[in-house]
């Protein structure tokens, strides 16, 4: 079993901009909701050019580390290792690359090309915050969030330091809707740290078989219709928002399960939220 504390949370979905909105379940009507968050960490020119995935990833990561640092926790963003998890990366960039290569490969944009690497968000985060520790970017198909969670918690356990996990996905454009019919813009981020009793706890074990289940069952009342692959994080976010004990089974792939237990703080001084 691997244990950690949750020191910070960030979340963004259309109509649910930020963890406070998520926690309260107050959705902004679609008509007035922003289509993507603003990555305030980036310089203005790059903020505008940044692809959706980079924007949402940096925005939720910023929210999570801000929360983690707001309660007297010693979380130095410059020495915080990072795990970025996304099933597809930036689909609009992939669509652009494929379409350009089919029409005029010599006109390919160098900026769009370097935006296409899966670790683009990790790179921009490191540049924007001065973070010089390890940064990884992973994918695991439909099990991307669960594997990202596992990798982040394994890093907390083996490095004995806080670790930032960022999970995000972007909507498909053009012909790619065939490959990723369910993707929506969504991101969430967590700062995990070695376990302490004052914070919400998380404990995971890896077991056989691919099971998906949430105990206690609850209606996914906060963002029920969000179809992004990384939105598997929804059940975890809901459990954190409710502030009570919960167990979530995530398929880690075709043959393994990540059993995730969320434990409310043992002490009264609840730090999350």
């Amino acid at each position: 079993m691997i244990e950690a504390s949750v020191l910070g949370i960030g979340a963004w979905a259309p109509g649910l901009a930020g963890w406070p909105a998520w926690r309260a379940g107050t959705r902004t009507p679609a008509a007035s909701a922003a289509t993507r968050p603003v990555a305030t960490l980036l310089p203005a020119a790059e903020r505008r050019r940044a692809p959706d995935g980079v924007s949402v990833a940096l925005s939720v990561a910023h929210e999570a580390v801000t929360m983690a640092g707001a309660h007297g926790n010693v979380v130095d963003v410059r020495t915080l290792p990072t795990v970025f998890a996304s099933a597809f990366g930036d689909l609009a960039i992939v669509d652009y690359l494929c379409a350009s290569l089919a029409s005029d490969p010599l006109a390919l944009s160098p900026t769009r090309f370097h935006h296409s690497v899966h670790n683009a968000a990790a790179g921009y985060w490191s540049i924007a915050t001065g973070a010089t520790e390890a940064a990884t970017a992973i994918a695991a198909g439909p099990a991307t969030f669960a594997n990202g969670l596992l990798e982040a918690l394994v890093q907390v356990a083996t490095r004995s330091t806080p670790v930032l996990l960022v999970a995000f996905d972007t909507p498909a454009t053009g012909p790619l809707v065939r490959a990723a019919p369910n993707a929506a813009l969504f991101g969430c981020a967590f700062v995990f740290a070695p376990r302490d009793d004052a914070s919400t706890g998380i404990a995971v074990t890896v077991g056989p078989g691919a099971s998906e289940r949430v105990v206690p069952r609850r209606d996914a009342r906060r963002a029920p219709a969000l179809p992004s692959p990384s939105a598997a994080a929804m059940a975890f976010l809901d459990a954190l928002a409710d502030g009570c004990d919960a167990t979530i089974d995530y398929a880690l792939g075709p043959a393994a399960t990540l059993r995730t237990r969320v434990t409310a703080p043992a002490l009264r001084a609840q730090r999350v939220g």
Binding site: I2, R78, P81, A87, F88, G89, V94, L97, C98, L101, A102, P105, L106, L108, P110, F113, H114, S116, V117, H118, N119, A122, G123, Y124, S126, I127, T129, G130, A131, T132, E133, A134, A135, T136, A137, I138, A139, A140, G141, T144, N147, E151, V154, Q155, A157, T158, R159, S160, P175, L176, R178, A179, A180, V206, P208, L252, G253, P254, A255, A256
Partner: protein
């Protein structure tokens, strides 16, 4: 961070130098480059690219019928490497020892099955191929390999561009140290794609000529394709097997597509790898460098090597043989490093003759026969993503080199 060493009990590679480690060793020994004048770009897009590339021969044969849904260049390349060097058999034996759920699969790639997605876009009639759920996402080839090997443990794709399949070694060490698995298959697969050929060209990083790592005349890289795998297990220290004794990771925090001018991130990763292996720089016999043959990378890397290591350390880039295999570079060069230790050869640099002024005495152009007990392999990537691996030829070599 310090993790216990891991035994590397099997390895395999398929690169432009041929299929299997023996072909790679033969090409290295005889200084025979696998690079050819590129024809892939024109075949993929109809537009020729004036460069050389490291294309693997024999990838025109489809996968066996039972794997038809998975058939694509990337999975054919992975399939080829899995069936060389007795690798699949070694994994089968490991499954028998540990059980399929106790073996992780961690593969690096920058493009996975992307060449198939590019091909689907070329004609309106083939766009529906994008609906095949077995392809067209970054984890597709890793998922295929997991099914082929029958593994059931944690299974992830690491995609940090050119450091991807170096970072999987560190990830495996962590998963084993945390007690979640007993062994891990690590590796990387990246094919030639139009996006990487034309994308690196758009950044002005592709040479029209053969790439010349660390040569004063170098003017860019050649892209290659490759697949490689390694089986990592807890060591029985009586065994005469090579060991992963440390790894170091860092971020430049400087620029998306250019290295930090002082090599800050590179040095940090080298320091971290040495520290985690309890090694001093003076104990390093050989370093397989990232050495892409771009102006910037090689100058920065040569300066870092000159500053950190004594004149007795030997260092070279072997990308003149294979091309820059991007997400597969980490595994290919880890295997080259293991071969250097086993054979007692510090490899030189093919295609290069006149060293850049930034090169110290460490940079080798000709092969040198010498005992290689401790070696490093460097991988530096877009986004300033760095990873350095530390290997020992065997437990004895590590014991002798370790700091008390």
């Amino acid at each position: 961070m310090s993790a216990p060493p891991l035994a590397i009990t099997a390895t395999t590679t398929t690169t432009a130098t041929g299929a299997g480690n023996a072909a790679l060793l033969d090409a290295l020994r005889t200084r025979t480059s696998g690079l050819r004048v590129d024809t892939f770009a024109e075949r993929a897009t109809g537009v020729a690219l004036d460069t050389w590339s490291g294309e693997v021969e024999g990838l025109d044969t489809p996968l066996p019928e039972s794997w038809a849904a998975f058939d694509c260049r990337s999975n054919r390349l992975a399939w080829d490497a899995l069936h060389r060097d007795g690798f699949a058999d070694a994994v089968r034996a490991s499954v028998a020892r540990h059980g399929p759920a106790r073996i992780a699969l961690l593969l690096g790639t920058s493009t996975s099955t992307f060449a198939a997605s590019e091909a689907a876009y070329r004609d309106a009639t083939t766009l529906d191929e994008l609906a095949n759920p077995r392809l067209h996402h970054l984890h597709a080839t890793t998922d295929f390999v997991q099914r082929v090997l029958g593994l059931e443990g944690p299974c992830m794709t690491v995609s940090t561009a050119c450091s991807s399949s170096a970072k999987v070694f560190g990830q495996a060490a962590r998963l084993i140290a945390a007690g979640l698995v007993d062994a891990a298959v690590v590796g990387g697969v990246d094919t030639l794609t139009a996006s990487t050929l034309f994308g690196f060209r758009s950044l002005g990083l592709v040479s029209r000529d053969l790439c010349r790592p660390f040569d004063a005349r170098r003017d860019g890289l050649n892209i290659g394709e490759a697949a490689g795998f390694a089986l990592l297990e807890r060591p029985d220290l009586r065994d005469d097997v090579p060991l992963l004794v440390g790894h170091g990771e860092s971020s430049d925090a400087h620029h998306m597509s250019a290295p930090h001018p002082d090599g800050r991130g590179a040095r940090q990763a080298i320091d971290a790898a040495l520290r985690s292996a309890s090694l001093a720089p003076s104990s390093v016999d050989y370093i397989n460098l990232h050495g892409t043959a771009t102006r910037q990378n090689d100058a920065v890397e040569a300066c870092a090597v000159r500053a950190l290591f004594p004149a007795t350390t030997r260092a070279s880039s072997t990308k003149g043989w294979t091309g820059h295999t991007l997400g597969a570079a980490g595994i290919v060069e880890a295997v080259v490093t293991l071969i250097a230790m086993r054979e007692g050869i510090a490899f030189g640099t093919v295609n290069s003759e006149a060293g850049d002024p930034s090169c110290g005495p460490q940079i080798l152009f000709e092969h040198e026969s010498r005992s290689v007990g401790i070696a490093l392999s460097n991988a530096f990537a877009f986004g300033g993503n760095n990873c350095v691996l530390a290997f020992a030829r065997d437990a004895d070599a590590w014991r002798r080199a370790r700091r008390p």
